[in-house]
Symmetry: C2
Subunit: 128 residues, 2 copies
């Protein structure tokens, strides 16, 4: 019983991380959202593609999902060279949801770091 | 051209986060690994199930995948009440891979936090 008590000291769902919504947690969408939050003026399709190292098809699919959920907006514009281009911008809702997600992600990092002795954690997390 | 330059200042793949290996990034497996790294003595199946709020079937499937990759080990043992029980422990390889993954996750959190003005970021990330 003593062993069992020690193991269940953490409350139920302590490591469930339910705030990690799949829509934002999936790696390519996470990269897209982080790119966009770092570029408040929005990003052209080709720049986003390069920054996230995605194919045209994959980026299009991910952007469609994010747009459907209201997290991003895609708009048509014309470059100075008069070529059509699509620019994607994070919406206000997208920014809010993304930072809620990031706060949960920060809890994962903190929980993991606490599991290591302080010096060990600092060394590993800063050099990896 | 000036706009375009500004947008592509970040190098190709800057937000690709290729270290976020799907095996560890999937939410339920991420919860399992964080539980295990926080309990170096290992965890009984039922405790792990509660901590991660997973069903029996789902937890079994996720543990099988993690064991196949060599990140965890499942062993049979007998409780003091003479009941059989399965205990899961993180392997040395599992701990190493997990902290490499966590280091990449920390980069995502840092990139996101840098996109917000300092006060704003502190407020959001600490109260969300």
């Amino acid at each position: 019983m003593a062993e069992s008590k020690k193991e269940t000291a953490a409350p139920e769902g302590r490591f469930a991380y339910e705030g990690l919504a799949r829509l934002m947690h999936e790696r390519s969408r996470l990269g897209i959202l982080t790119s966009l939050v770092s570029h408040p003026q929005g990003l052209a399709f080709n720049d986003l593609k390069k920054l996230c190292r995605l194919t045209d098809g994959n980026l299009s699919r991910q952007l469609a999902q994010l747009e459907e959920a209201g997290l991003v907006v895609q708009s048509k514009e014309t470059t100075r060279q008069n070529r059509p281009q699509t620019r994607t911008t994070l919406t206000t809702l997208g920014k809010k949801r993304f930072f809620e997600y990031i706060a949960e992600l920060e809890r994962v990092v903190t929980d993991a770091a606490e599991a290591l002795p302080a010096n060990d954690a600092r060394r590993r997390l800063s050099t990896a």
